[in-house]
């Protein structure tokens, strides 16, 4: 705590303190020469200083527009919070995690230029999401039959992998994604992928992607429901 000591000459009938709300009286004593020593303390506590920092961070945040892009800079700490999962992730302001995440959050948001597909942003997709999951006989969840009804088979896995990557990276960079939360590993976003079935009808499906550092997204769920 920082304390300021004021010694004032008392004037009869006058109010010595004009801003009583900011002062905390601790005591008063009178010395033989007639001065009234008012000992009062202006208290600057550590929380106040931290609140100033938080206010500054919040002001920076409030100056952002919803279509601006930011890089989340997490504050290193030992707390059990989700902030570490957002470190160095790129978000469009209208689809980003709550900021600040918690009262003591000191994470920063750094304004960046819109990411460019395959230059400052990249999508990856493990082909086993199709060969080992969608088209696998191990799972009896109807996905294999669904994709086959649209005219896709396991031989199309490579094509689907590239289709997912190219559509997802473009939509991510255009801000056409939805932030859906976190798991124990990372932040997650949802992107709608459009597949055309054998009759030429478009199928809009939900997919879930892991949001990595510096503009990388990695496919988690290749089918998470339909977007009708």
């Amino acid at each position: 705590m920082l304390y300021k000591l004021f010694i004032l000459r008392k004037k009869s009938g006058s109010t010595l303190l004009t801003n009583k709300k900011s002062m905390l009286y601790c005591g008063k004593q009178t010395n033989p020469s007639g001065f009234v020593c008012l000992l009062y303390f202006r208290r600057y506590d550590i929380m106040g200083l931290l609140n100033e920092i938080a206010e500054k961070l919040l002001k920076n945040f409030l100056s952002l527009k919803k279509d601006d892009w930011i890089e989340w800079i997490a504050q290193p700490n030992d707390w059990q919070d989700d902030c570490d999962k957002f470190n160095s992730c790129y978000f469009i302001v209208k689809q980003m995690p709550k900021y600040p995440q918690h009262p003591r959050c000191r994470c920063r948001l750094k304004k960046i230029a819109e990411p460019i597909p395959n230059i400052t942003a990249k999508a990856t997709c493990d082909i086993r999401k199709f060969t080992g999951y969608i088209f696998s006989d191990k799972y009896d969840d109807g996905k294999k039959e669904l994709f086959e009804s649209w005219g896709y088979t396991i031989e199309d896995s490579g094509y689907l992998q590239q289709l997912y990557i190219s559509q997802a990276i473009q939509k991510y960079c255009d801000g056409q994604y939805q932030y859906v939360g976190v798991n124990d590993h990372s932040a997650k976003i949802s992107i709608t992928i459009t597949l055309t079935n054998q009759n030429g009808v478009e199928q809009h499906i939900n997919t879930i992607w892991k949001l990595g550092q510096k503009g990388t997204i990695d496919l988690i769920a290749p089918y998470s429901g339909h977007n009708y």
């Binding site: 191990k138 124990d184 988690i220 769920a221 998470s224 429901g225």
Partner: protein, 161 residues
């Protein structure tokens, strides 16, 4: 090699293998006593889990990783306070990426995501974090029409295939 240096076990030792520490596992040197190094090993299949073991230096190779100063200070403080004799084993993980699993419990943290006992899912990552595996469950949620990806403790599911 010196204390706080990153190392790798370059041979399969029976005594360590029985404790779940295998060739290729990485760790950090916590103490040096002549040729015997006390190493803080990490479980690559279950991130967050660690164990201490004494190893002859001839079975270790340096990874030449340079840690930031802040991390070195944290590790020094950790080694000074941790009870190394408590952490002697690593879990042998039997789960692999793309394994088919079934949830065998009904717990609020799963049911609030729409995933109930009996649901089938697919393991999404080749490793767990603090004993929890990331699993994508099919046909769950509203109208059983969605996939949900949640973290599940190892004891809460069985491997089907």
């Amino acid at each position: 090699m010196k204390v706080l240096e990153d190392v790798k076990l370059n041979e399969e030792l029976e005594e360590l293998a029985q404790r779940g520490i295998h060739k290729g596992y990485e760790g950090t040197i916590a103490k040096i006593n002549g040729d015997i190094y006390t190493v803080w090993f990490f479980n690559p299949n279950n991130r967050g889990e660690f164990a201490f073991a004494e190893v002859n230096k001839k079975y270790l190779i340096s990874d030449k990783i340079v840690y930031p100063e802040r991390l070195l200070l944290e590790m020094e403080e950790f080694f000074a306070n941790v009870k190394m004799e408590k952490y002697t084993h690593l879990t042998e993980c039997d789960v692999k990426e793309y394994d088919v699993v079934q949830l065998i419990v009904e717990k609020p943290q799963y049911s609030m995501e729409g995933v109930h006992k009996g649901a089938y899912g697919c393991v999404q990552f080749p490793y767990a974090i603090d004993g929890k595996w990331c699993i994508l469950f099919s046909n769950v949620g509203e109208n059983n029409a969605h996939d949900e990806e949640i973290s599940v403790a190892r004891e809460d599911f069985i491997i089907v295939e």
